[in-house]
């Protein structure tokens, strides 16, 4: 009975939810205006190359996760330093997600509850999730996956059914030339959300990835999710028009509010907040788990203690910004720096692995 190893399907579900995660919360590629889809397509293609890089690294040494790879191929001290950098990156990403979740809750559901209370509850729930480790997180996303998909399908169905989609918002194509499109796509759109798959370098070793179909399935999932994200983003633009979409805090929820389902439900957006929560929470839990795995490996403390420490750190980090506007602004600043973790460091690690394995192979022969 082979039920203790993780099936690829659960990792796939986790990857899909993770990529959807908080991305639909915001209007992506706002600078590109109605050409957001072009910018996103380019960014997702770049993300695809990155994913291929990560998978190639995984295939070179399938048994080790990111932190272990760093230590093995970059030397003890440098590897540890890079490992800590990744830990910091994951923890900070988690704290950003936490802040998003808290702000979303506070603005839509619990207007009067203090932020720190909501954050505390959320961190407790997510710590509990991370406590179970990656495998259970994957299985959990497998259960949640249909709910999220049905939620979005229902949304698309209702938006189309009520004639809220104004496809003419697509034109004119490339009104301001390629420049704004490029500026939107690189590097910020690559680093959020498409390049964030770097986290899965921590998770790939948990799964039976030897199956030849695995790589193909991951690519397919990534492609499907990218198309979905591009479509959702464009859908928001179609519904709200880019000038409104740019200005509101949560454009997706704004468009959901336009759905009239009176006599049964007013305010469909409250329902939809839960779909967003699932994606957001899962992404948060994934980053959390990645960070906790890292800290427990790097320092040698137990995983449970690592979870606790990471939880405290994330809770603290989520209050860096005094208000939501600052949080959003900071997010735009840091995405430039995140390319270090998504492109530069993995590339260095890849080169180190190539050199090392190249050295070893003749030795063996």
């Amino acid at each position: 009975m082979d039920n203790r190893t993780t099936q690829p399907s659960s990792l796939i579900a986790c990857l899909a939810l993770y990529e959807i995660g908080s991305s639909t919360l915001f209007l992506l590629a706002a600078e590109a205006k109605q050409d957001a889809w072009i910018a996103m397509t380019m960014a997702s293609a770049a993300g695809f190359v990155l994913l291929a890089l990560y998978l190639a690294m995984h295939r070179m040494d399938p048994a080790r996760d990111l932190f272990s790879l760093c230590r093995t191929y970059m030397g003890k001290w440098l590897g540890k330093a890079v490992g800590f950098a990744f830990f910091g990156y994951f923890a900070y990403e988690a704290s950003r997600n936490l802040r998003d979740l808290v702000e979303l809750t506070s603005q839509i559901l619990l207007n009067d509850t203090p932020l720190f209370v909501i954050a505390l509850l959320s961190v407790a729930v997510v710590s509990n999730t991370a406590r179970y480790g990656g495998r259970i997180l994957f299985l959990c996303s497998l259960v949640l996956f249909p709910f999220v998909i049905v939620g979005y399908l229902l949304l698309i169905f209702l938006l189309t059914g009520q004639h809220l989609i104004h496809a003419e918002n697509l034109f004119p194509v490339l009104e301001n030339g390629w420049r704004p499109v490029f500026r939107a796509a690189f590097p910020s759109l690559v680093s959020f959300p498409f390049g964030q798959t770097v986290l899965f370098l921590v998770f790939f070793p948990l799964v039976r990835t030897q199956n030849r179909n695995f790589t193909r399935t991951v690519y397919l999932t990534y492609a499907a999710v990218s198309i979905f994200l591009i479509a959702m983003n464009q859908l928001i633009l179609f519904v709200l028009g880019q000038s409104i979409a740019e200005r509101v805090t949560f454009p997706l929820l704004e468009s959901v509010q336009l759905i009239e389902f009176s006599q049964v439900f007013e305010r469909m957006d409250i329902f939809f907040v839960f779909v967003l929560f699932l994606g957001l929470g899962l992404k948060l839990a994934a980053f959390f788990t990645g960070a906790a795995t890292g800290i427990s490996q790097l320092t040698g403390i137990g995983y449970r203690k690592g979870v606790f420490g990471t939880g405290l750190l994330i809770y603290g980090l989520s209050f860096i910004s005094p208000n939501y506007t600052h949080h959003i602004w900071l997010g735009k600043v840091v995405t430039y720096w995140f390319t270090i973790f998504q492109i530069v460091l993995p590339l260095l690690l890849f080169i180190a692995m190539k050199l090392d394995l190249g050295k070893r192979r003749p030795g063996h022969g």
Partner: protein, 499 residues
């Protein structure tokens, strides 16, 4: 330690009596040799544990033997074996084993001047006849249920599975109760891993008493720290047979009609054996109703509290007005109102189970009229709340397994508290740990949410829907994958009828 000294019959009998502390149900019949007028045999048993009519046969045979046989053969068993007409015979060499044999419902025969004793198994005594199971009723399907008698229960299963592959392993547990336990499985279908694990866990049990299968359930389940049942129990022999055929193992315990079935997954608790006896489309519909009831039973009160306390903007205006009008003048917040009503219901429920049957109608009058209608009229609770609580209560009875609905009831209270404190957000932060707990839970190593997490498409044929039998050609994966075929692959409709 004490091989029987057969010199003096009366001293052995006295010793046995002493062992049993002179209990009055210890019966000794001394049978004399006709010529010598000395005690030749002592027939000992415990009153009420042996079958009276068989005992008469047995005594007759022993008396006849005592009359005829002048020469004493050295072996008692050999001389009696041909004469005793009933029961399984066994030698008992020590006093301990004699006493134990009697306590198991055997009759012990000791011969003067012979080595050892002979035990004849003719267990009997009072037992309930086979009746319709009270906890799991069906409209269509067999009406026989297990009783407290292990041998009868085993025969009910054996009668349904007339295959040599049905295996029964006996063991005795409980230092005082010496309860007979039978592990039942179908050789060739059950997963050896599960069976070995079950044996290992049963071996570890060392407890003074097993009075009900619930003891065993708690002692062998994977973790005690979960409200969810990880072992199924049933009173229905047809249910046991169906589970055995899917690769589960069963544990039957003497003295209780409830058999244990394991391993079991979450979704099994929403299935009834009747699902397989009635048309598949009807059965599928009923299953959907059960899963719907699961969510109602778990979430309805907490959603109501959350929406009316925190997210009123979700309710359509007309309904909001009517709800607000009802709640006008109600002194309690929605959370307390709901908790009060739910607790009241729990009290009524418990009273309904524990009270003597005759008082039943009184409780329902008090419950329905006094607590329901009067509370609304007195303005203590709103009518909407009464509807919510009653519907929740009824929905919880739709779930076929009592253990599961009890777990849901427990969770419901926690979710209500969270909903009362944090609204819909509270419901969510209650549901997520619950989901994780279910995902992480295992029953004998089998993931609790099996066909969903981890994913197994094959098992979906018999999950939310019950596909027609023509389609259900395979046993459920993982648990039944050792012998996966139920029907041959190419068994088109009609082919079976022609042969």
């Amino acid at each position: 330690m004490d091989g029987l000294d057969n010199g003096d019959l009366s001293s052995i009998v006295e010793e046995l009596r002493c062992r049993l502390g002179g209990s009055s149900d210890f019966i000794v019949r001394l049978i004399q040799d006709e010529r010598n007028r000395i005690d030749k045999y002592a027939v000992c048993y415990i009153d009420g544990l042996v079958d009276k009519s068989l005992l008469a046969f047995l005594l007759e045979a022993v008396v006849a033997e005592a009359r005829e046989d002048a020469v004493h053969p050295s072996d008692l068993a050999a001389s009696l074996a041909s004469r005793v007409p009933v029961g399984a015979l066994a030698d008992a060499a020590t006093e301990d084993s004699l006493v134990q044999a009697m306590l198991n419902g055997e009759v012990v025969i000791i011969g003067a001047g012979r080595s050892g004793g002979l035990s004849v198994a003719i267990p009997g005594g009072p037992s309930r006849s086979i009746e319709e199971p009270s906890s799991q009723t069906v409209v269509r399907g067999p009406k026989d249920g297990f009783t407290e008698n292990l041998a009868d229960n085993l025969s009910l299963v054996r009668r349904r599975l007339r295959t040599p592959d049905l295996r029964i392993e006996d063991r005795i547990l409980g230092r005082y109760t010496r309860t007979k336990i039978a592990v039942v499985y179908i050789h060739g279908i059950v997963q050896p891993v599960i069976l070995d694990e079950l044996r290992r866990r049963l071996d570890k049990i060392d407890i003074d008493s097993i009075l009900e299968s619930g003891y065993i359930e708690e002692l062998i389940q994977d973790t005690a720290w979960t409200p969810f049942p990880t072992i199924q129990n049933t009173e229905r022999p047809d249910s046991v047979s169906a589970y055995l055929l899917e690769g589960h193992a069963a544990v039957l315990v003497d003295g209780t009609p409830f058999a244990l079935l394991l391993p079991v997954t979450f979704f099994k608790f929403f299935l009834s054996s009747e699902d397989y006896y009635q048309r598949h489309d009807i059965a599928s519909f009923v299953r959907m109703i059960r899963f719907f009831s699961f969510f109602v039973s778990l979430l309805l009160p907490s959603l109501y509290i959350a929406v009316t306390t925190f997210q009123q903007e979700m309710i359509p205006t007309t309904m909001l007005i009517s709800l607000a009008a009802q709640r006008e003048g109600i002194p309690l917040p929605a959370l307390l109102e709901a908790l009060l009503m739910e607790l009241t219901f729990e009290v009524i429920r418990e009273a309904g189970i524990r009270m003597p049957r005759v008082i039943g109608p009184a409780i329902s009058i008090v419950g329905a009229l006094v607590l329901g209608q009067a509370a609304v009229q007195a303005g203590l609770v709103s009518g909407a709340m009464v509807i919510i609580v009653s519907f929740t209560a009824i929905a919880s009875f739709v779930i076929p397994a009592l253990g599961m609905s009890a777990a849901i009831r427990l969770m419901r209270f926690l979710l209500m508290l969270l909903a009362g404190s944090f609204g819909l957000f509270g419901v969510l932060i209650g549901m997520i740990p619950l989901l994780l707990h279910l995902v992480a839970l295992r029953s004998f190593g089998v993931p609790y949410l099996l066909p969903i997490a981890p994913l197994n498409w094959g098992n979906f044929k018999d999950l939310f829907f019950r596909m027609p039998w023509r389609v259900l050609k395979q046993r459920p994966a993982v648990i039944g994958s050792r012998n996966p075929r139920r029907q041959p692959k190419r068994n088109r409709h009609g082919e079976g009828n022609r042969t």
